[in-house]
Amino acid sequence: MNWWEPFEYPFLRDAMMIGSLIGVLCAVLSCFLVLRGWSLMGDAVSHSLLPGIVLAYLVGAPLLIGAFLAGLLCAVGTGWVKNISRLKEDTAMGVVFTGLFAMGLVLFSKVPSDLHLDHILFGNLLGIGPAEIREVMWVAFPVLAVLLLKRRDFLLLCFDPAQARVMALPVRLLHYGLLALLSLAIVVSLKAVGIILVTAMLITPGATAFLWTNRFDRMLLISSLSAVISTILGVMISYHADASPAACIVLFQAALFALSWIMVGRGWLKCFVRTGEKSTPR
């Protein structure tokens, strides 16, 4: 068996490239989400995009815009329900995103369309065309640029919102800005990995990197690296095993996490984890 065979096919090369770009985008976001305790926000926002996509199709608007608005509606709606009721945030989130998703399914079944529900849910990494590649790039690079340029501000928001307020950062703007960037990232990732597995790409790399290091810049680097490795090897494995590429990518990420977790448990990563801690008197 020739392991390098997948690289000979242009559509597989495209899949790896776009998958890596999306993987890095999600991985960078996942670092912020892990620190903010928002890991499941990705799950919620990604499910809630469905009604936006179907409605945008109905009125003939770009699907991206519909999806983006629905994602924002979910994030804002969760905050609203939490504020006006006595429910906890995770319960409010659960009610809002499942409600939106269910509405999307009903709309989908009532509206005759040439949308493929399979592609929305599970992605279609191997069937990505030039138009979609351009679309992903147009969104991914600006979002990445904003995230990386403003990473200090976002980091403080995630790490210690009270401190951020004291330092007169625009906390509200940062909060909704991060949600908007998250929605945008999920919207473009849908094409590749689908609603369901984008959740994993928005949690696992950041959590893996969190085990490795205490320094945020290194965390960004490690999580991006793990996402790229997972994407390339995941696509290769899926080619050889004739399996779903999205599932392979996510399982590879999970395997990297499991490996890191075991290594940390054994104390093999201590030399890495300690870096950045200036004083650990024991």
């Binding site: 399914l105 849910l121 959590a207 599932a247 996510v250």
Partner: protein, 285 residues
């Protein structure tokens, strides 16, 4: 549309069967969702409902009962979450997310390897309108078992959900209660998976309880209200799905969400209107 048209769905045996099966599962999920809301385990419901998928796929492949497969994979996921949570510095939500997405991806991988033998659509969206007799028997068995356990243990579970410290202090075995609730959730998740599909189980396990929580402060009433909401919305949703090309799960959960939104506004003590009224009174006095 006159009344005769409204009755059309009821002329079909499969519709009648779907309506009562959904109502039953809706009721069981409603009861459990009261505990889930109180315990703050909303996302555990989400996680378990995704984590049972590989078990369902393996059970399909090997011809085993779905209950067995999903139960084992649900408990494995719960175990993995527990172990990783206690032995890392990660927050609970991240651990939950990693484990359930990995399990779900494993399920999808299995399905993509053997596409002919596992019906992805019926796992993801449920298939109550064409439910097989075998699945129906399993469903009845699960519902019966869950209801009996709840009837026997609901006071202990309540104390565990409300105040685990107190439960430990009066000599309840908290670890056992924890495991019991996880088991009930896994078992119910697979029953609900057959009716509304893996993606919407979580709604059935959160929304009725959250709605009832807005209505009352008394737990026994909360149980009653959330079970009633579960039964009525699931039955009506199954009925309505006749008009929505069979998207049973979508109809049920949309209904539940509508009921929740209504409760959010009009609930007697905790609703938006009641709160406004109270604030106005405070301003006046």
């Amino acid at each position: 549309m006159d009344w005769n048209d409204m009755l059309i769905p009821l002329h079909y045996d499969y519709m009648i069967k779907a309506i009562w099966v959904c109502a039953l599962i809706g009721g069981v999920c409603g009861l459990l969702s009261a505990f889930v809301t109180l315990k703050g385990w909303s996302m555990m419901g989400d996680a378990l409902s995704h984590a049972v998928v590989p078990g369902v796929a393996i059970a399909y492949l090997l011809g085993l009962p779905l209950v067995l497969g999903s139960f084992v994979s649900g408990m494995l996921a719960a175990w993995a979450m527990g172990v990783i949570k206690t032995r890392s510095k990660l927050r609970e939500d991240a651990v939950l997310g990693i484990v359930f997405t990995a399990f779900f991806a494993l399920g999808l991988l299995l399905i993509s390897l053997y596409p002919a033998r596992v019906d992805l659509k019926s796992i993801v969206f449920g298939n109550v309108l064409a439910i097989s007799d075998q699945d129906l028997r399993q469903l009845l068995f699960i519902s019966g078992a869950v209801l009996i356990m709840l009837a026997m243990k609901w006071r202990d579970l309540l104390l565990f959900c409300f105040d685990a410290q107190q439960a430990r202090a009066i000599g309840l075995r908290v670890e056992w209660m924890h495991a019991l609730l996880l088991m009930l959730l896994s078992a119910t998740a697979v029953a609900a998976l057959i009716t509304v599909g893996a993606l919407l189980v979580v709604a059935m396990l959160i929304t009725p309880g959250a709605t009832a929580y807005l209505f009352t402060d008394r737990f026994s009433r909360m149980l009653g209200i959330s079970a009633t909401i579960g039964v009525v919305t699931a039955g009506l949703g199954a009925y309505a799905s006749y008009y929505a090309n069979g998207s049973t799960g979508g109809c049920i959960v949309t209904l539940q969400t509508i009921v929740f939104l209504i409760a959010l506004v009009v609930a007697p003590k905790h609703g938006l209107l009641a709160r406004r009224r109270r604030e106005r009174k405070e301003v006046q006095s």
